[in-house]
Symmetry: C2
Subunit: 326 residues, 2 copies
DNA sequence: CTGAAAGCGCTTACAG
DNA sequence: CTGAAAGCGCTTACAG
């Protein structure tokens, strides 16, 4: 049998209420008692039973980090892991624990709802794809604070500043005198690609440069390579992902075009692939770890002061210059 | 106020004990009562409070998945995410939840110990690097079942069959008639590299082929490239990771050596990089998702039947043939 | 099969 | 500042 608060009280010669007060840092306790309790706890190696405590306070000190089941986009994505890590770190800082909940859209997020109804978690961090109306309504009904990763109208959120990212990439090109630049990516699929494209276009138009938008390019090395080998040519390319950029560089090389001499290439997200490119890729780095930290911080604030309006945070990006641009 | 078991009992016209029996699928309940309770639960939308229940049963239905804090090896590693995903899936299947605990060796795994002492988790899955004597002793004392990811003497474990992997890679080379093969990797750092090397050497020696072991090659594209450009040459290379293999192929290409014509290359772990290699890389695929599933299953078994001897599982590997080998 | 009752380990008014 | 007592929402012998 584990030692309980009752044992501590007896050992210290005080009531359980006093021990409880000690545990909760209540000011209503004499120095003297405080010391006695402290010693007894130490000697008995007492550990409060969180299950009992939390049943009363109705707080589990855990939050759910939601992930879409069998979504290779998520699971093949190490960014996801970095976000998770950021969340965990920030949460641990505040004494909260992280529970991973994978959900399926098809069963209406049952697993998440269950964990909420069971009072297992105090808050939720979830990706924007699943922050639909019905789930958000549920969360609000249950008064469960949540933060969305990705821009949304429906609650607090954090996101990468993709528009600025697109702009920064374009400007890096324009600064070198490029007057004919092209954006490459798949705008059908991803909001963040459209945002990057938007920033890119704004910067290009502001400078009066010619700008081509290719929003129909699948994210794959093959697609990038095709374009690199094709006949059209721009002075600078901004590509929405590293794999496509890798292919593009390959294609350009095959065509005998020098990078960054004749053509420059800039991509997003600094990962191992950016370093495997030849030449090494200039990228707009996105700090996804920090994204997780912020998500956790926003949630923590909500957890503290029940009310509050929705908040949002846009994470700045920064350019990492390498050999694929001048 | 949420609806409690008491409300259900009243509504159904039975005692709380009967409702509790229903909830726990006790056979000691009449069809008739069962039905009444079922309906009341439905009408009242009752959800049992797990905190109260678990306080009594002393089970949280959660397990901890332990990760080393700020270990870029882990967090930069999407394999880790796949393992986690496997664990989560298998666990959810059995009604268990996954809690992520990141620990620091420097503070003696305090965060993990805390969560155990607080009764927040019923079991632990942890990487072999932290499954040291002192932590294992703690877990045993607290009677907390655990499974280690990676081979160990100290408890149940699951691991990739790296020895077979190394053998399979070697044999794929030898089958094509190669009589002079080389293993490339960093044996200082990683157990799995040594295991792969071991399997490789065994196969090579068994076939009587000449085999070179280079266990001093850092896992980096540069290191691989150096070797590719160097003067020595073997008919076949087995490389312990994709980034090094990428570099090796690059170096060989620069030297004008054709792959797989003159030289063949095989690596481990099928990821995006294997596909970016030119030519595309033949790899020994390791199913890390399944590794997670097995870890969870082993743990679940322990959770069911308190006792039992330690168990282990070695995960088979399979060769994926691509253009870098014949 | 069923219910009344004790109890899990804590917190929190309440009265001093 | 402190303690006795009620209560959180369940489960589980126990007696029928």
């Amino acid at each position: 049998m584990a030692v309980t608060i009752r044992d501590v009280a007896r050992h210290a010669g005080v009531s359980v209420a006093t021990v409880s007060r000690y545990l909760n840092n209540s000011p209503l306790i004499a120095q003297d008692s405080r010391e006695k309790v402290r010693r007894s706890i130490e000697e008995l190696r007492y550990e409060p039973n969180f299950l009992a405590r939390n049943m009363l306070t109705k707080q589990s000190q855990s939050i759910a980090f939601v992930i879409e089941e069998s979504s290779p986009e998520t699971y093949g994505n190490e960014n996801y892991l970095r976000i998770q890590y950021g969340v965990e770190q920030a949460l641990a800082q505040h004494g909260y624990y992280l529970m991973i909940i994978s959900v399926r859209r098809s069963d209406h997020f049952q697993s998440l709802k269950k964990v909420i109804l069971e009072n297992r978690i105090d808050g939720v961090i979830l990706p924007v794809q699943m922050a639909g109306k019905s789930l958000v309504r549920f969360l609000r009904e249950k008064q469960t604070p949540f933060v969305v990763i990705g821009r949304t109208e429906l609650g607090s959120w954090v996101d990468i500043d993709n528009v600025s990212g697109g702009r920064a990439a374009a400007e890096a090109l324009l600064q070198t005198g490029a007057r004919d630049v092209c954006f490459l990516g798949n705008g059908e699929e991803k909001v963040f690609v459209r945002e990057r494209a938007e920033g890119f276009r704004a910067a290009a138009e502001a400078s009066g440069a010619k700008n081509a938008m290719r929003l129909d390019c699948p994210a794959s090395a093959e697609a990038g390579r095709e374009i690199g080998r094709g006949d059209g040519l721009h002075e600078g390319y901004v590509v929405s992902d590293n794999v496509t950029a890798f292919g593009l560089l390959q294609g350009l090389r095959e065509r005998g075009i020098s990078v960054p001499g004749q053509v420059q290439v800039i991509s997003f997200d600094d990962g191992i692939i950016a370093q495997l490119c030849a030449p090494k890729l200039t990228v707009v780095d996105i700090d996804v770890h920090q994204l997780g930290v912020w998500a956790a911080e926003l949630l923590y604030q909500q957890l503290q002061s029940a009310a509050d309006a929705d908040q949002q945070r846009l994470l700045p990006v920064r350019l990492i210059r390498r050999a694929s641009s001048r």
